[in-house]
Amino acid sequence: MMRPPGWQRITTVLRNPREALTLSRGNIELWANLLIILCALVFMVLKGATFAVTLGTVFGIWAMLSISLNLVVGYTGLLSVGHIGFFGLGAYTVAILTSTTAYENLRTGEIPTFGWPFFAALPVAVLVAGLVALLVGIAFNRFRDDIYVLVSFGFAIISFNVFLNFRALTRGAFGIHDVARPQIGNWVFDTELELMLVSLVLLAIVVGISWFIVSSSFGRVLKAIREDEQVAEVFGYRATHYKLAVWVISAMMTGLAGGMFSSWTTFIDPNSFILLESILLVSIVILGGLATIWGSLLGALAFVLLEEGMRFLPFLPQEYVGQARQVVLGVLLVVLMMFRPQGLVGRFKL
């Protein structure tokens, strides 16, 4: 049974309300949970159902992303800033396979369109992300700590440049239009409510897989490797293989989120996959908490609320919303690193 961190605190607090005001670990977790969930509820009530539905889709995508990145950061201790690359790979694979808009390339003539259905393209996207992750992971396996951060920055930059400049396939800065919506038989999921449904079902799959990984013996070995690689090696576990495996799985789930994203927006261009988004993703994972699935869900929820909440601040001009969100996240990162390096409900300190 999956219990969010800070849950068991509730009974203590109910028995003795004065306990709630002390600054213990359990209380911080409890208040973080309550505050963010309360904010979400208040927001939904204030803005109405349609808005909540759109928010749900976005939340699903960000939550998938942060859960899969958390598998790498929280369970292997490797801080990857390059996951946006796999996100983009998934998104572009689905877009290229399902788009039906013809596109004339000046140099190579017309590019064929495939016109696959969404649910056929999605597994391919996951496989492509996994395959690239395998190759990248083999190359990255010998790095760690700050050098790992640098090379994963490198992967993000390289993949962005490939999306931007490999025009024969990705159509460069023009982007790809008319990405197919999910479809089963004759049922096309093209209202916001149906899209949210798909997004949340995919999220549930991701949560399920992650939960299975984390609670199985595989997850325990990962934790052991994270804490002390040499000890784990002495017990006969090949640390590199385990790290590679979780890296590939995480990339595949990121690719899944990418496919969903591309189908939701129906138009993608390289600007959705810039390095900055990757840094934001890392900050969501750290904000929510390392090595907990619940924390990642919470972090994604807080991020989505932050973005939408800022839009309604009266004194903040609309064009500064993105920047203001960046400032808030940056300051939050600094504050968390100073006082709570494990994040709000985390179980592992960097």
């Binding site: 700050d146 960046q326 996240l329 990162l333 600094v334």
Partner: protein
């Protein structure tokens, strides 16, 4: 980690490098003019990377983490020049000079000044002078410095009058210090009163001459604005160190925590810059005129020579300070073992703070040079930071020679790579090479021993 690859694989790596070099050599012989052009462009881009890398390496070799704030420092430096000079360049088109920014920067300077005065002078003078008086005087001095900063920033069109004398004073003090060291060195390590008097006289004369010259020449405003930007970026770096990093380092020694915190700072500061200046690219006009010189068939801007010169002079100055002064010895001692350095009586907090200041000033200079060369935008810091980081890692982690070598090498490789590929792939080349290179030489070309 070092012996990850067998001898045979290293041999293959060397062969690959040799093939690339031979290919470049062949291309250069077949079209020397183009080679000259690309080589020169590479050196001038490399100068910027080298300056960033020097900043990174300096800090990394003392406190052993990469301070990603330097990306923001580069952007701060470039936008500082824009902030101070835009009104005259662009004829009041942009009204960026806002009191809010000036006040914030003045407060930062005042705070840093207060801390520096306290850390350096307070404990020394406490024995002789009444502590309360000391506190009041120090506080007043800090407030005065803050007010002065506000004054300089509020009237950028009179920069040569407001900041010229101070710049002259800084040059004079640096000259006195340098001359004294030089004389001592020539005299076999012993100081002499006559030498000191000569040094002071020369320094004072120089300061007065430069001061009078600067006040009377409004054309010097551009160069003064560079100095102001570097000082401000350095001060912000120092403030971040004192305000955040010191406390974080007390709590945890993990380099990743510091890295993530500085990433947060980079994120926040970049966003702040784009709130103040908007995120569209802006020009910084070429200070030496844009008419290129033709040397050996290559078109070369005078500014490129200047950039290379700045990188080399900066490197040499830093190197000699680290090598020959007591400050340099302290920095190296902290790099070797901070605890021991503290035990033998080095004021580690102050020394590290100065290191952060200098590193950020170098990064700001890199940002200014890059901004004059192309254009400035708030996001420029991120890519510059990454390039400087690559250069410092490839050159050799924690080694200043490695930083400047890595910087120029990265610039050259990028430029020679776009000779055959299209220019848009140059970032891919840089990072691809980094990953390939680190696989074979995980500690860089010239690792610190």
């Amino acid at each position: 980690m070092l012996n990850y690859f067998s001898r045979k694989e290293r041999l293959i790596a060397f062969l690959l490098v040799a093939i690339v070099l031979i290919y470049i050599g062949w291309r250069s012989i077949s079209s020397p003019e183009q080679a000259m052009q690309f080589g020169f462009n590479g050196l001038s881009v490399g100068a910027v990377y080298a300056l960033m890398a020097i900043g990174f390496t300096l800090v990394y070799s003392t406190v052993w983490f990469f301070d990603l704030y330097y990306g923001a420092a580069a952007a701060l430096g470039a936008y500082g020049v824009f902030y101070l000079r835009s009104q005259e360049w662009l004829g009041g088109q942009y009204q960026v000079n806002t009191p809010v920014v000036n006040i914030i920067l003045a407060l930062v300077v005042a705070g840093v000044a207060a801390w520096v005065l306290h850390a350096i002078l307070y404990s020394r003078l406490r024995e002789r002078v009444d502590p309360t008086t000391l506190r009041i005087v120090g506080g007043l001095l800090a407030i005065a410095l803050g007010a002065y900063t506000g004054l300089v920033l509020t009237f950028p069109s009179h920069l040569h009058v407001t900041f010229g004398p101070v710049a002259a004073l800084i040059v004079g003090v640096a000259a006195i210090w340098g001359l004294r060291l030089l004389f001592e060195r020539l005299n076999g390590g012993r100081g002499h009163l006559a030498f000191q008097a000569i040094a002071v006289l020369i320094g004072a004369a120089l300061a007065i001459y430069i001061g009078i010259f600067l006040v009377n020449s409004p054309g010097s405003k551009l160069y003064l604005s560079w100095a102001v930007s570097c000082l401000i970026a350095g001060t912000v770096g120092l403030a971040l160190y004192r305000g955040l990093y010191v406390r974080m380092r007390q709590r945890s020694r993990s380099p990743l925590i510091m890295l993530v915190a500085s990433l947060g700072i980079l994120l926040a500061l970049t966003a702040c810059i784009s709130i103040v200046f908007q995120s569209a690219p802006r020009p910084l006009p070429d200070p030496f005129g844009s008419v290129p010189w033709t040397i050996g068939g290559a078109n070369i801007k005078g500014f490129n020579f200047f950039a290379i010169g700045v990188a080399i002079v900066g490197f040499l100055a830093l190197l000699s300070v680290l090598k020959w002064t007591s400050f340099g010895r302290a920095v190296r001692a902290i790099g070797d073992d901070e605890e021991v350095a503290r035990v033998v009586g080095i004021n580690t907090t102050v020394i590290i703070a100065i290191v952060f200041f200098v590193g950020a000033a170098f990064a700001a200079m890199a940002g200014i040079l890059s901004g004059h060369d192309t254009a400035i935008q708030p996001r420029m810091g991120l890519l510059l930071m990454l390039k400087g980081w690559i250069a410092s890692v490839v050159g050799g982690i924690g080694n200043l020679y490695g930083a400047i070598l890595g910087g120029f090498m990265l610039g050259l490789i990028e430029q020679f790579a776009i000779w055959d590929l299209a220019g848009e792939w140059k970032d891919v080349v840089a990072f691809g090479l980094l990953i390939l290179f680190l696989s074979f030489w995980p500690r860089g070309l010239l690792p610190r021993k």
